[in-house]
């Protein structure tokens, strides 16, 4: 991958602000299945958190609870000072401030790349069209595909699509970015171009919560790594501490499996 585990880790320690995401004893069930067990976590402004864990550990569910694509049944989730409840108006308010990037991109196939980017600013933020297009182009330049603006998502490669998805989310000028396994659906040669964009974003001071198996990425940009297994947070700490001196057997097992895979 882009950076390997043995790279020297420039654990960038930026000035962290007050907490912007608070999960307090969150529980969730899918029918009988207990998918989140007493999950508590706080993310500070400008903090970069990487969430990892084996599949089925509840990491995607947890990140999807932060913008309420999934609703939790017990506990409290607070984002940017507002508690997540069934109140849809408060929810729409929060979703404007929280950008999300999905594993399967989820671009709108009937709109051009630029229209994908300008849709939400125009309809949600009420930005005038010309201004929204300028904004869209500036973010497409940032993810390095301005020349694809007039194409449709189906005409792009997976890596390009994921970069458009990142630009689309950034166009709403969110305070927080959530990444749900952004590189898992990509061919190996495209992972780097997406990770590069994410690294740049992390270095610009964006608050990020990132579900990923890219340990190189975690090492390079994460302030904190959270390891989840069977619906609970098992261990968390700086990337260096987590990868070099894992405390629990579960994390040791997970790391050995991940490393064997590489």
């Amino acid at each position: 991958m882009s950076t390997s585990l043995t790279d020297p880790a420039p654990a960038s320690v930026a000035e962290k602000g007050p907490p912007i995401i608070i999960l307090d004893k969150v529980n969730k069930w899918f029918g009988q299945l207990h998918v989140l067990r007493d999950v508590s976590m706080t993310v500070a402004e400008k903090e970069r958190v990487v969430v990892c864990g084996p599949s089925g550990s509840g990491k995607s569910t947890m990140i999807r609870c932060i913008n309420r694509l999934e609703s939790h049944q017990e506990g409290r989730i607070e984002v940017d000072g507002t508690e997540l409840t069934d109140d849809t108006r408060a929810l729409d308010q929060i979703r404007r401030e929280v950008g999300m990037v999905f594993q399967s991109f989820n671009l709108f196939p009937h709109l051009t790349v630029l229209e994908n980017c300008t849709l939400a600013p125009i309809w949600v933020r009420k930005t005038p069209k010309a201004e929204a297009e300028e904004l869209g182009m500036s973010f497409l330049r940032r993810v390095r595909i301005p020349e694809q603006a007039k194409k449709y998502p189906g005409q792009l490669s997976g890596g390009q699509q994921q970069r458009v998805a990142i630009a689309r989310a950034l166009c709403m000028r969110p305070k927080i970015m959530l990444f749900d396994e952004p590189t898992s659906a990509l061919d190996p040669e495209m992972i780097k171009e997406v990770l590069d964009v994410m690294i740049e974003l992390a270095e610009s001071g964006m608050t990020m919560v990132c579900v990923t198996h890219e340990m190189g990425f975690a090492r390079r940009v994460a302030d904190r790594v959270v390891f989840m297994d069977r619906g609970e947070i098992v261990e968390s700490g700086t990337p260096a501490a987590m990868f070099e001196t894992p405390q629990t057997d579960r994390l040791k097992l997970f790391l050995s499996q991940i490393l064997r895979g590489h």
Partner: protein
């Protein structure tokens, strides 16, 4: 050379396929030849006018051997306009032209904008004024005198134009998770309407429904039939639309939600444009079906195109010339239905060009 090779490979590959090919060629040529014989060579194109109307002796003599197109020449005004006052028939004729122009304009994608809805309303108002009259110096023509092609087109156009948006609402309602009462209502509506034949719905609308109305509330037959057609078509279309909604990947909903789009924005900008595109073939299938199903209104005594045609040959001198009339009606129906299906194929191709996944 190409053609010979193609024929060799596809038509005369073995003795068995050669035999089938030869038999089919024989049947097709014979069938086509007898039709040409009947429709053109032995056909009677006009009849002399006698003192008591047309003298149809020539036609009767040719019956079974040649077509009598004179009946079309003689009766086309009745078939197209039925009992609409003869002197005023330019009005329904104008309506036909207006409706066809409206179809052509609506079919062009560059005209798909808000103004198009306005154009539809204006055209329908003008058509209403022309058909009813009673204003601008036009004499009043009550609805029971309407008939023929304009009536068929009006029933089908208004029927589908009103049923389509209704069907979208019903389909959305049926899928809504937050509003169980709305969902139940939509399910009951679709299942109830789908469970009854259109004919019985037409009967109920025109004969039973007025009984429940306060005395004196005279409900027009054409209007009741129109409402029945709208309700019936909407139930069927709703299921087609629902199929489209269901086939969209969940990620589209989630991505729109994550951007903070409200329910109606999400539905109008993301979900429906994609869902409807996916169901163009079954939608047009249903449209074509309902265009023809409007002929069922004859059962409640409305003179649509088909009924006007069959009535035309009830006239004693022309009795027995139904075939010619049916050929004419088939040509008219085919023209409209084929236009719809050709258009939908073109539309699919256009919309697909941009979106290869």
């Amino acid at each position: 050379m190409q053609a010979v090779l193609w024929a060799r490979a596809n038509l005369f590959r073995s003795w068995w396929s050669t035999a089938v090919t030869l038999v089919l060629i024989y049947l097709i040529v014979r069938g086509a030849w007898s039709f040409i014989d009947w429709a053109f060579i032995n056909a009677v194109w006009s009849v002399p006018q006698g003192p008591n109307g047309p003298n149809t002796a020539v036609c009767h003599a040719a019956q079974g051997i040649g077509a009598c197109w004179a009946v079309v020449k003689e009766k086309y005004r009745f078939i197209l306009f039925a009992f609409y006052p003869y002197a005023e028939q330019w009005r329904p004729a104008t309506c036909i032209v207006l409706l066809i122009l409206l179809y052509i304009v609506s079919a062009r994608r560059q005209f798909w904008r808000k103004e198009l809805a306005l154009l539809w309303i204006m055209t329908l108002v003008v058509i209403g004024i022309l058909m009813w009259g009673g204003a601008f110096g036009l004499t009043y023509v009550p609805q029971y005198q309407w008939g023929g092609l304009p009536l068929t087109l009006i029933l089908a156009t208004i029927g589908l134009a009103a049923a389509f948006p209704l069907s979208i609402l019903v389909a959305l309602g049926r899928r809504s998770t937050g509003l169980p009462a709305v969902r139940l209502l939509c399910v009951v509506y679709v299942e109830l309407i789908r469970g009854v034949p259109l004919i019985s719905l037409l009967f109920m609308a025109t004969t039973m429904f007025p009984l429940f109305m306060p005395n004196g509330a005279d409900i027009d037959k054409v209007l009741s039939a129109q409402v029945a057609i709208i309700l019936f078509a909407a139930a069927y279309l709703a299921e087609v639309v629902r199929a489209g909604l269901q086939s969209l990947p969940r990620g589209q909903n989630e991505a729109a939600d994550a951007l903070g789009l409200s329910y109606w924005r999400k539905t109008g900008l993301i979900i429906l444009p994609q869902a409807l595109r996916l169901v163009i073939p079954p939608l047009v299938n249903t449209f074509i079906g309902f265009f023809k199903d409007t002929s069922l209104v004859l059962i409640v005594g409305i003179f649509d195109l088909l009924k006007a045609g069959t009535t035309a040959v009830a006239d004693p001198p022309w009795q027995g010339f139904g075939n010619e009339i049916y050929v004419l009606l088939a040509v008219i129906y085919f023209a409209f239905c084929y236009a719809m299906s050709r258009y939908s194929r073109g539309l699919e191709r256009d919309l697909d060009r941009a979106r290869r996944r």
